[in-house]
């Protein structure tokens, strides 16, 4: 089905993913495995002045998972933690110009992993 193939934006982010890597001493981090397909995403963030100063990810997953990871991390970069927490998988899909229906759950993985890293920061921050 044509619903299986990716658009240009997705392919571009998949081929040249932004923010791949790791952060030494992150302010927040999370690793999440998708229950749907077993894909896994690890997110680390650095926060400065209440805003996401840096964000890095590593993803084990398909094209959609990697592209979602790339664009989602771009979307929250520079935003305040509060703003960043508002990210939705729909916004990720929109930014990608759409995903094949069967691949929508990959955008959920990106959304949730990023949120978990942000929450990890918030929790540590509260406690600290």
């Amino acid at each position: 089905m044509s619903e299986m193939s990716y658009n240009e934006i997705v392919l571009e982010h998949f081929t040249n993913p932004r923010n791949v890597g790791e952060i030494q001493d992150p302010d927040g981090e999370a690793i999440l495995t998708s229950k749907v397909c077993g894909d896994m995403m690890k997110v680390q963030i650095k926060v400065e002045n209440g805003a996401v100063a840096d964000i890095k990810f590593k993803t084990f997953g398909c094209g959609a998972a990697i592209a979602s990871s790339s664009i989602a991390t771009e979307m929250v970069k520079g935003k305040t933690v509060e703003e960043a927490l508002k990210i939705t998988n729909n916004a990720v899909v929109d930014a990608l110009g759409g995903l094949p229906p069967a691949k929508l759950h990959c955008s959920v993985l990106a959304e949730q992993a990023i949120k978990m890293a942000l929450e990890d920061y918030v929790n540590k921050h509260k406690q600290g």
Partner: protein, 395 residues
């Protein structure tokens, strides 16, 4: 990237020039309906008769034992449902394996809903069915054994002659899905005691949309397509004359070249396997080391996901497949890889490369070079790989 290396011959092949040349006149010139009595009809009928002889000849069958269908899927459906319906008074138990193509598996599951019982035999780590286990599974109400000749994902060749022996001794109908085997492995239905055999033209440089089912004389088969009295009343529908002509030519060519073809493919395939095993760590070759289709190589690259690998290979001009072409894009780990005991996360990193006549000298080298680069790249962004390597360091 201009280079294009097609390594997905198990999904489909191109139609060979000699095959297309024989088909062409039957589109616009000799276009009669083979059921018509007039000259146009007789011409079409003669072409079908010739194709039937060629098809029968290629597998050691008799002309009247060949039924033309719309492909391997229809052949499998017709064989299994046709026997189930014809013999349900005798029994409602069917034996097959866990690693069949979906055309067999989903047909069996459908029959389960209709009250049949199906035993799905396990396979060993190489994908081999055990004839002993099969023999033990036979019951007094078993009416059909269906075991594929060669697996489409991992290429494993099943012990067909032993299974044929057992089935014949117990007087149970034996069907084999030989869609992947025809053209790569010599087949003789008489010697191998095969009662029914499915094949498909588009896997052997013939046209898509044409296949055949061999049904040994004397076996009853309830037709699954109802209509005109085509194919000796066993498969209704105006015959696809050019398609059938193409199948006839393709299978004749395949039979004439089988030895050299297999040798050529095996050489390229072995080069790829060696290249990968020597240059990539944490990789597993799925399937049997020797008992496998000559063109098939199936690897699991740990820590990465198959679709991502497939896409980057595609961008490098290499066409491959994750498991069966039919299930690409689905999430369940391949039922074949599960059956040979691969854990889901390793199965997820599996890619199949299948060689054929679209390949030439150097394709394996190019593929090795690209795989090394791409696997490295994907592992660099894999949290699993980082973990694993971190863990190992810590040991």
């Amino acid at each position: 990237m201009d280079r294009h290396v097609y390594l997905d011959h198990a999904a489909t092949t191109f139609v060979k020039k000699e095959v297309l040349d024989e088909m062409l006149p039957y589109f616009a010139e000799k276009y009669g309906n083979a059921s018509s009595l007039h000259r146009d009809g007789r011409e079409a009928r003669a072409a079908i008769d010739r194709a039937r002889s060629r098809t029968a000849g290629a597998i050691g069958a008799r002309d009247e034992e060949i039924i033309f269908t719309s492909g391997g899927t229809e052949s499998d459906n017709l064989a299994i449902k046709g026997v189930a319906e014809a013999y349900e008074q005798k029994g409602r138990h069917i034996i097959t394996t866990k690693i069949e193509h979906d055309a067999v598996l989903n047909t069996c599951e459908y029959l389960e809903k209709k009250g049949f019982e199906v035993t799905y035999l396990p396979v060993d780590e190489y994908g081999l069915v055990s004839p002993e286990t099969l023999e033990k599974a036979i019951r007094s109400d078993t009416i059909l054994i269906s075991v594929m000749f060669a697996n489409n994902e991992i290429g494993t060749l099943e012990p067909i002659d032993k299974i044929g022996e057992i089935a014949r001794a117990k007087n149970i109908i034996f069907h084999t899905d030989a869609v992947q085997a025809v053209g790569s492995v010599p087949i003789d239905v008489e010697k191998m005691k095969i009662d029914m055999l499915s094949l498909s033209a588009h896997k052997i440089y013939g046209p898509k949309g044409t296949g055949a089912l061999y049904v040994k004389k004397g076996i009853k088969l309830s037709p699954q397509s109802h209509g005109g009295a085509h194919e000796s009343k066993r498969r209704a529908g105006t015959e696809n004359v050019p398609g059938i002509v193409g199948l006839g030519k393709a299978i004749e060519l395949a039979g004439a070249n089988i030895g050299g073809y297999a040798e050529r493919l095996r050489a390229m395939r072995e080069k790829l396997i060696r290249g990968i095993q020597e240059n990539v760590s944490d990789v597993r070759l799925n399937g049997h080391p020797e008992k496998r289709l000559p063109g098939n190589a199936n690897f699991s690259f740990e820590f990465i996901e198959g679709e991502a690998l497939l896409l980057l290979l595609d961008m490098a001009g290499i066409s491959s497949s994750t498991g069966s072409a039919c299930t690409s894009g689905s999430f369940k780990p391949s039922h074949v890889l599960s059956a040979i005991g691969l854990p889901a996360e390793i199965a997820q990193g599996s890619v199949r490369f299948t060689f054929g006549d679209a390949n030439k000298e150097g394709d394996a080298d190019y593929c090795i070079e690209q795989i090394i680069k791409i696997v490295q790249r994907l592992r660099a962004m894999s949290p699993l790989f980082a973990q694993e390597k971190g863990m190992r360091k810590n040991v």
